[in-house]
Amino acid sequence: DAGVTQSPTHLIKTRGQHVTLRCSPISGHKSVSWYQQVLGQGPQFIFQYYEKEERGRGNFPDRFSARQFPNYSSELNVNALLLGDSALYLCASSQPGTRRVRAHEKLFFGSGTQLSVL
């Protein structure tokens, strides 16, 4: 079975541009979470989606948005890019045991998209 797939793997943008990152969860997983990992830091939670609804949002500005599609894949959009947005963006999928999504449900991470903003 394929794991979590993310595209693109690497991306270079300039300040002010917009970017869309994509994630396909493991087949059968209905929850997708997005994390930002800046070099030398642990991942920081951005969003969580379950059954196409936003279930959690981290401390990120409104320039960051996401959505989940009927096939449970997801997109993360970042507008008006800043130099500080340079990071590894990780997508994780999970299959919650109940409708309420718990953070400690087993998360499966993709390899990430390395975004560089120049």
Binding site: G56, A103, G112
Partner: protein, 111 residues
């Protein structure tokens, strides 16, 4: 202020040595997870601990959750070069949907 403090930040040891890495907080967590991340890859879950005082073993790795559920440790026996990687702890706080990660311990095991 980092909610989860991991120590040491860097650790370089020889193959066969034992080591312990720590994850500490002043907050109580309903569960805590340990991940290993290799360069260019996403984190891979090693273990989840839920009960205060819980000890879990995964081959040469031993994980402990503190009695007060504020801290955790990871002990590796007879480290091997394949154990090299970034070890991250992540905690879930009651009422929150998100995982909070520490900065990680970068472990290098030299042959």
């Amino acid at each position: 202020t980092q909610l989860l403090e991991q120590s040491p930040q860097f650790l370089s040891i020889q193959e066969g040595e034992n080591l312990t890495v720590y994850c500490n907080s002043s907050s109580v967590f309903s569960s805590l997870q340990w991940y290993r991340q290799e360069p260019g890859e996403g984190p891979v879950l090693l273990v989840t601990v839920v009960t205060g005082g819980e000890v879990k073993k995964l081959k040469r790795l031993t994980f402990q959750f503190g009695d007060a559920r504020k801290d955790s440790s990871l002990h590796i026996t007879a480290a091997q070069p394949g154990d090299t990687g970034l070890y991250l702890c992540a905690g879930e706080r009651r009422g929150s949907e998100k995982l909070v990660f520490g900065k990680g311990t970068k472990l290098t095991v030299n042959p």
